[in-house]
Symmetry: C2
Subunit: 324 residues, 2 copies
């Protein structure tokens, strides 16, 4: 991470160290909400402090009664001006909670609303290890290390510094696969995604942001466990599924869904995070890091669709085009 | 509720009274998971004890670190033999948590796995007020009344006894609308549902269980708040939405989504829970009770689709047909 980020993170963690935290809320919308999924998953596994994840206005209107002075509320907005997320940060801060935001835009409304801000970089020129998810992971592992100091969390911090090479190598290894996926699936009006555990957020953002928002392709991010309790009846020879196999505790759930889907559909594509070469990341942390790599890899699948459909990922018909 | 149910509920509540509860987990799959959505919503609003909702195997493989002797774990399976839910109940009980299950089948595996069981009735011959959701509500309001005794929770218990009339009247009032919906939407290959807050679970079960499982129609239960952060770009003149307007705190989120969807799609159907005549239910509880009525009303929309598509709701191609 860069010098600003290191300082911002340090300030936020110092503030956390000085507080008693009894619950954690992650609040954001869309793609920013998706990156919180693995963070909440990691918290569930590593600490007995309960954590929960809400979309902005569900949090604002619901206003959980447990929100208060011993809450940590982490919010994220790329532009820093997502109204629901700004409002959530204000509400949380007024309730006495410790508020930390992540944003691409220091000085934005969100940045002003939160007590502590952590900036991230973005785009082809920037380092993936300084983008939103890795900065969030540093906050989460830093928090865990305060709650229950462990060398594992220190190793996690170090591994995040080596992320650029891991992501670049695995993107390079899957570049042609992503392009071929685009050619093969370009005529599909609907593509389901499926995953669970640490990788569910990747399926969520691929469905909602890449397929629906950026490609106008119908979708649903099906939870691999829920698949067998309703959604699997939709499976047929011509129904496309993009299944992301996790690398951790819930992998067998994804494998079961994959085995079934492959039996009855000829249109199943798999992104197996166990195939990622992540040797720089300690083995006991590879599952946690898998979504960070999967995000970069799947972006190439979206690039493939965009290219072969002649529909750039930057096109919108409503977003940024009108008030709503 | 019937005599057995009253006794079962009393035993479960007595056990809760004797324990210190610091967190609550609701665990189930598919349609049973959907009925837990408003229960978790009510807990968020009424108590500062954190609660969370998981599908069976996500809970089992994740095994939140906060699960322990001061946890209350509520599970539900209609058949009582959903393997993931039975396993979740066992895991929770082994961890020392207080386990309460709901099931149509007393004596089932689930029933045996849980420390306490609450039975419910089902089907055309039975009273809706004795079915799964109302029994769950009795458990939740009973729990809340133990944590923080209030006449509101006692009124809730009483109102649940008057539910049969409320549901029957509102079903009668919407019977022809549901049938007309089926005629109008029978050719649609995809139907999105949308809602939030107390009614999100109704959208979830309509999408996953009624449309996908029982009608093989593509779907996604979009959260009204998330709609504007990706999914809304899929909106077009011919894209069908079934929007369930809640009656409570998150209603304006649903209204905003409705206003946008109607502007760009000619295929928007609304189920407005504010139109339900719920005069037997105290006004401050009507929002909480809205999903119980909406469930019955929406079943008629599914009946309408089934009738006009010649595809009975009882048909399955995989479920109950093969091991998976």
């Amino acid at each position: 991470m860069n010098t600003n980020q290191a300082q911002e993170l340090q300030h936020a963690l110092e503030a956390i160290r000085q507080r008693t935290i009894t619950n954690i809320y992650f609040v954001a919308c869309g793609g920013s909400k998706a990156i919180f999924e693995p963070a909440q998953y990691i918290c569930d596994l590593e600490t007995d402090i309960p954590s929960a994840l809400y979309t902005g206005n569900e949090f604002n209107y619901r206003m959980p009664k447990a929100l208060g002075k011993t809450s940590l509320v982490v919010t994220c907005s790329h532009s820093g001006n997502t109204p629901e997320t700004v409002e959530a940060t204000r509400i949380a801060r007024e309730a006495g909670a410790l508020t930390v935001c992540l944003s691409f835009k220091p000085g934005s409304e969100l940045w002003e609303a939160a007590e502590y801000g952590i900036s991230y970089t973005w785009g082809p020129e920037s380092k993936p290890s300084e983008s939103n998810s890795p900065m969030l992971y540093r906050l989460v592992f830093g928090l865990l290390n305060i709650l229950d100091p462990q060398e594992k969390y220190q190793r996690a911090m170090e591994a995040l510094e080596n992320l650029d090479g891991v992501i670049a190598r695995n993107k390079a290894a899957t570049l042609s696969t992503g392009m071929a996926y685009g050619a093969d699936y370009k005529r599909e009006p609907i593509i389901y995604t499926m995953s669970s555990g640490e990788c569910y957020g990747v399926a969520y953002s691929f469905s909602l942001c890449l397929l629906m928002e950026m490609q106008w392709i119908h979708s649903q991010p099906i939870h691999s466990g829920e698949y067998f309790h309703g959604p699997f009846e939709i499976t047929d020879y011509d129904v496309p599924f993009l299944i992301i196999l996790g690398r951790g505790k819930t992998r067998s759930m994804d494998e079961r869904a994959l085995a079934f889907a492959k039996k009855f559909s000829n249109r199943v594509e798999v992104v197996d995070t166990a195939d990622f070469d992540m040797h720089e990341v300690p083995e006991d942390l590879q599952a946690y890091f898998a979504p960070l790599v999967a995000g970069g890899v799947l972006r190439q699948y979206a690039d493939g669709l965009a290219h072969h459909r002649g529909h750039p990922l930057s096109v919108r018909r409503y977003m940024w085009q009108m008030p709503y």
